[in-house]
């Protein structure tokens, strides 16, 4: 027992007086606490802590030795916890309810144990997956319901170095191992393929190394020796909407976008090849073409200049649609193989390459999935993973945003989004409100912290916990977990690899290849 219930209310939570023998330093904000009522165990998390005194006189003549200080603990000086209750578990039935009542005075408060965590986090869970441990209890384990996680869009938010990638790899490993969804990962920094750098710059295994038969690595560059295949996107697969999504990189004006749409309406899927073919025309000839297309000559010239940047992308080619990688990737995804799209060679750290590929591929998948029959869609769930998501999901790109559409509407089509980002405040609030489960890691900017809780109740209580997080720690809340949980992400190392590594029974890649 760590203390007893001193006061409380449904709206303000519980106030627990700590026992004199329990140092507040052995607990921390975000820890789980159970208050044992007569009928229910009340699950809560420490939302705040304070030290206090019952008599201010003590500060005029403080105790002059350790023993005297010990004497005063628990009576004249004491510590209290503010506990935010989230669930109550009926003792006799183990049924879980949201908080509807409160326990009596002096109800005992204690830390959780493994059985408690199991009761709450593994209740009716088909695929419980160990993702971490409570902040101050290394021996306990916290599980997440992966099936539930994949039913809605999700997000990991955190600054650079907070551990987003490690957490992502752990979650994605669980999803792949349990065949819950096919992942399409746009791997901006080449961290989810075969190998990646660990925190200490050692080479560590990544998804392809752990699941050689369940993961396919595509690269936009042929320079990547680890890639299974390379991305080719025909010009015909590019729409003005795709280009509009790149406007912040291509320096596209509204006028250019409008011009692109006019050409697209006239030339159809050939619009890009046609526009780029005008690149070498002299001024007079270009003016004639502009007149022919019924667009402004200067706007056409600007559009050509902006679009020319796309010619630097090796994967974007004036080729036949049959040579497109899109169908191949879709076939893998529909057959349970996850696809990691990497960016090597010239495309490494190229925002243009990343956003172009992510946007074009996602838009096609969206179109294909919407067209599929319901039973086809239900066969395989797809989760699209995007890093630097704020650049796709900002309010300014709201209209043409396929990622926003997926976050908002695609759950019913069995396609969900997994956002990995460090600037949640720049993501459109409507999209944020659709994120089912959020993994909030260390954040520094106040606006980002506020954004994390947008559309989720009880944010103000959790913000203090978020503020206290260190690297590799995460505040998890939302649809996939019965209550918010602050935890340390499990170690991504040999033990984890042993646990998840693919057995050599099935070969889904071979099965997918057999389709061709």
């Amino acid at each position: 027992m760590i203390g007893f219930l001193k006061s409380g209310s449904l709206s303000e939570g519980f106030l627990v007086r700590l026992n004199r023998k329990i140092s507040p330093e052995t607990l921390r904000i975000g820890d789980f606490v159970i208050v044992e009522g007569k009928l229910y165990d009340y699950f809560g998390i420490i939302e705040d802590m304070r030290i206090s005194s019952s008599n201010e006189d003590v500060f005029f003549a403080p105790p002059d030795n350790f023993l005297k200080k010990e004497v005063l603990k628990g009576s004249i000086i004491f510590s209290e916890l503010k506990v935010a209750p989230y669930l109550m578990v009926e003792r006799t039935t183990n049924k879980i309810y949201t908080i509807k009542t409160i326990p009596e005075h002096f109800s005992e408060a204690r830390k959780v144990n493994a059985a408690d965590l199991e009761k709450v986090f593994m209740n009716n869970t088909k695929n419980p997956f160990h993702i971490g441990q409570p902040l101050t209890m290394d021996e306990q384990r916290i599980f997440i319901d992966l099936e539930k996680l994949c039913k809605r869009s999700n997000a990991i938010f955190g600054i650079t170095g907070s551990g987003k990638t490690f957490l992502g790899r752990i979650l994605f490993s669980g999803i792949i191992k349990n065949s819950i969804a096919s992942l399409l990962i746009f791997d901006m920094h080449n961290e989810y393929g075969r190998y990646a750098k660990s925190e200490k710059s050692f080479k560590t295994q990544s998804l392809k190394a752990l699941f050689p038969r369940k993961v396919k690595v595509f690269d936009v560059s042929t320079k990547n020796p680890d890639a299974d295949s390379f991305i080719s996107i025909p010009y015909k697969d590019v729409t003005p909407m795709d280009v509009g999504m790149l406007s912040h990189i291509l320096n596209f004006s509204d006028k250019s976008e409008e011009t692109a749409y006019i050409i697209w309406k006239q030339k159809g899927t050939d619009w890009l090849a046609y526009t780029l073919s005008l690149k070498h025309l002299k001024e007079k000839a270009l003016a004639e073409k502009a007149e022919e297309l019924n667009v402004n000559s200067a706007s056409l010239s600007a559009l050509i200049r902006h679009l020319s940047k796309l010619q630097g992308l090796d994967f974007l080619k004036d080729i036949d649609e049959k040579e497109s990688s899109i169908e191949e990737i879709l076939a893998y995804l529909r057959n349970g193989v996850s696809v990691v799209v990497q960016f090597s060679g010239k495309a490494a750290n190229s925002a243009l390459a990343y956003f172009a590929v992510a946007n074009i591929l996602t838009r096609r998948i969206h179109e294909k999935y919407v067209d599929l029959k319901e039973e086809e869609r239900e066969k395989r769930r797809i989760m699209i993973v995007v890093e630097e998501a704020h650049k796709f999901l900002s309010t300014s790109l709201k209209e043409q945003n396929v990622f926003g559409t997926i976050a908002r509407e695609m759950r019913k089509f069995n396609v969900t989004l997994f956002i990995i980002d460090q600037r949640p405040s720049e993501i459109d609030s409507e999209v944020l409100s659709q994120v089912g489960t959020r993994f909030a890691m260390q954040l520094m900017d106040e606006r980002d912290m506020d954004a994390v809780f947008q559309g989720a109740g009880g944010g103000s209580k959790l913000k203090k916990i978020l503020r206290s997080l260190q690297p590799q720690e995460v505040l998890l809340f939302g649809y996939a977990v019965p209550m918010p949980v602050a935890m340390r992400v499990r170690n991504y190392g040999e033990d984890f690899f042993k646990e998840v590594k693919e057995s050599k029974k099935k070969n889904p890649i071979k099965e997918a290849n057999d389709l061709y």
């Binding site: 019952s54 008599n55 006189d57 003549a61 023993l67 004497v71 628990g74 009576s75 004249i76």
Partner: protein, 191 residues
């Protein structure tokens, strides 16, 4: 078992006993009657055997005076006040004023260390003493300090720290509104 004194006056909440010169029990010591009522020594007084007699000053050292004028001491009564606080009932120590009047002329004896330990195993003894009206027990703090010093003196170093914590943590609750009294006690009861 040597007797320490004999109860000669029984008043509400307080007993007065007569002892012997130089053998009065120290303030804060625990005594028991021959009917096993436990009491704590609260104060000392020296009265005259002859009512109305007021001693005069002789201006001599005590030893000389005792040798030259022994009647001066023979005319005195060596008295002490006691607060009864409980008794054993079915082997358990129960803290309370005695229900029935303590018999006058009951003889008084020192309680053993084991008996003292049992009286304070229930720390409500301290609450009981703190609850006594200051008109009855004007030297309350001194009584408790002496009692505790005597009690703690029986412990080994290893046990002492835990017992000190147990007793004073309880006192800290009782005296949470009166920190300076608590502090005085902690400062005085040195271990």
């Amino acid at each position: 078992m040597d007797r320490v004194g004999e109860i000669v006056i029984v008043q509400p909440g307080i007993l007065i006993a007569q002892g012997e010169r130089k053998k009065l029990p120290p303030i804060g010591s625990v005594l028991k009657t021959n009917s096993s009522v436990f009491c704590i020594v609260a104060a000392h007084s020296i009265d005259n055997k002859i009512p109305g007699r007021v001693p005069m000053a002789y201006g001599k050292p005590l030893n000389t005076l005792e040798f030259e004028q022994p009647q001066v001491f023979a005319l005195m009564k060596w008295m002490f006040q006691l607060i009864p606080f409980g008794a054993f009932k079915n082997r358990a120590f129960v803290i309370s004023y005695p229900k029935n009047a303590v018999e006058i002329h009951s003889l008084l004896f020192y309680a053993t260390d084991d008996e003292i330990a049992q009286t304070i195993s229930d720390l409500s003894l301290l609450d009981f003493l703190f609850g006594i009206d200051s008109a009855i027990l004007p030297q309350r703090d001194e009584v408790i300090i002496n009692f505790l010093m005597n009690y703690f003196s029986k412990f080994s170093t290893e046990e002492l720290r835990n017992e000190y914590l147990r007793v004073f943590s309880h006192l800290a609750v009782t005296l949470r509104e009166d920190y300076f009294t608590l502090k005085k006690m902690m400062d005085r009861v040195k271990i």
